[in-house]
């Protein structure tokens, strides 16, 4: 068989694709979190960062397409393998209830945590990227933010002081002031962290880099990573919900928004 045939049709090939796309997605979610944590600095940071990303134009689209293809392949492989697994088990009389010997909890729920994360990602994009859910608070519908200082990347001022940019800072805080949105977000990132608890361990096994010699250390590193990832994500809605993080000074809700009319 050809290389593509091996990768897309064999058991190990599809697991490899799942591991590879999983790694791309892990890279994305970590980068995304680090970017988002700028919300704890003054609004110039996250707003400048968002404007900078949008300024990338075609590059942003390349990244989006790579991510979309990765998500597609990851879910396709997970589903195709799972359907085969179900078939491989059936057709031979009823078994007594599965007796788990040593499988971890995260491994037993990996598919379900994956699907919930997918549902969340769709909602998340609808809220913050497309503005379909909660559109009164969508960045396009909020007053523009005027940069107080330059936003710099690697020392270069990429967004200049005085530039009018979208107010992502206020959009995120207004969004998370809704407890339902925040709680859904926290549950989803919790499940994603739980998914990665099995996923990252599995990544090393699928690539053939895991062995008993260091599997204990790998498990601990994975646990620390997933915990840190969860806490980092918890910090944003958590601080908004508890009122520790409020709207920026000088934010005025647009007169057309429902909050203003009331």
């Amino acid at each position: 068989m050809s290389l593509a045939g091996n990768l897309f049709h064999s058991s190990i090939g599809r697991k490899f694709l799942m591991a590879l796309t999983g790694l791309i997605l892990v890279g994305f979610v970590v980068g995304h979190l680090v970017g988002n944590l700028q919300i704890f600095q003054d609004p110039d940071h996250i707003n400048g960062y968002a404007a900078f990303l949008h300024q990338m134009g075609p590059l942003l689209w390349v990244a989006r397409i790579v991510l979309l293809i990765s998500v597609g392949i990851h879910i396709w492989a997970a589903t195709a393998l799972a359907l085969e697994n179900k078939q491989a088990r059936t057709g031979n009389g009823p078994a007594t209830a599965k007796h788990w010997i040593q499988a971890t909890l995260s491994s037993r729920f990996v598919r379900w945590t994956g699907y919930v994360v997918l549902a969340f990602v769709i909602y998340h994009l609808a809220q913050f990227t497309l503005g379909v859910a909660g559109s009164a608070q969508f960045k396009e519908n909020l007053p523009r933010y005027v940069m107080a200082a330059d936003y710099r990347v690697a020392g270069f001022p990429v967004i200049k002081a005085g530039a009018e940019v979208l107010d992502v800072h206020s959009m995120v805080i207004l969004g998370f002031q809704n407890p339902i949105v925040s709680v859904f977000y926290i549950i989803a990132v919790g499940l994603l962290s739980f998914h990665l608890l099995h996923g990252i361990d599995s990544f090393f096994q699928t690539m053939g880099w895991r062995s008993a010699k260091w599997s204990g250390a790998l498990r601990k590193l994975t646990l620390v990573f997933c915990l840190a990832y969860f806490l980092g994500n918890l910090a944003i809605p958590g601080s908004v919900l508890t009122g520790m993080k409020g709207l920026r000074e000088g934010f005025r809700a647009p007169s057309t928004s429902r909050t203003a009319r009331r």
């Binding site: 068989m1 050809s2 290389l3 091996n6 990768l7 049709h9 064999s10 058991s11 190990i12 090939g13 599809r14 697991k15 490899f16 393998l81 085969e84 697994n85 078939q87 491989a88 088990r89 059936t90 057709g91 031979n92 009389g93 078994a95 007594t96 209830a97 599965k98 007796h99 788990w100 010997i101 040593q102 499988a103 971890t104 491994s107 037993r108 990996v110 099995h198 361990d201 599995s202 090393f204 096994q205 699928t206 690539m207 053939g208 880099w209 895991r210 062995s211 008993a212």
Partner: protein, 271 residues
Amino acid sequence: MVASSTSKSSLSVTLRVWRQAGPNQPGKFVDYAAKDLNPDMSFLEMLDVVNDDITTKGEEPIAFAHDCREGICGTCSCTINGKPHGPGRGIATCQLYMRSFHDGDLIVVEPFRARSFPVIKDLITDRSAFDKIMQAGGFITVRTGAAPDANSIPVPKHDADLAMDAAACIGCGACVAACRNASAMLFVSAKVSQLGLFPQGQPERDKRVLAMVSTMDAMGFGNCTNQYECSAACPKTISHDFIARMNRDYLKASFRSVFKPVSNSTGGGAA
């Protein structure tokens, strides 16, 4: 085997056994009382005693497979209380003793369940899918010579030991039965690694792993989800590290096959 009691007094249990007259026939669980058992009798000896009873009553005895009765042939495959080869670690059913159970226990006995292991009768399954995988590449084609020749090719001690760990596989199929996905990856990885660790196994290393994995897939086994139920149920405690090794070998072989040059004269010689 760890005994759950040190008592020497006899015990009585209820067996709930899968009875199926033949392939593709409906099966069902049937209860049998096994009374006054010696705790030091093996599980298979207990089945012999129960079968004596059944036969005297003029009924069809429970069909179960067995051969060596010392844990080296891999024939005595059945699932006991939901775990292949029953309670205990690193033993085959023939090495399981009645002292592992308590008086009054209900013991559920069924065949290894997997689509690729069709039931022949009662507890006996057809595991020839494993043979097909072996035929696809579980061998070394070159003549390796007689025993003294083995020492003429140096094998690093570490590799020899690791290969021996893999070679301990008795091909019983417990890994498939224990896996939620009925994956045969522990079995196949043990065979791939055993041969791939030796100098004599190198020339066919890529071809072997590609062929064995492709046959494994074609036989309808499931795909590993890295839950390691297989190695926990394995009577030879073969490590799932071998699965990682096979994954790496398979991926390397797949990528290498794209770039490896081929001779123009393929087909010449004794092809």
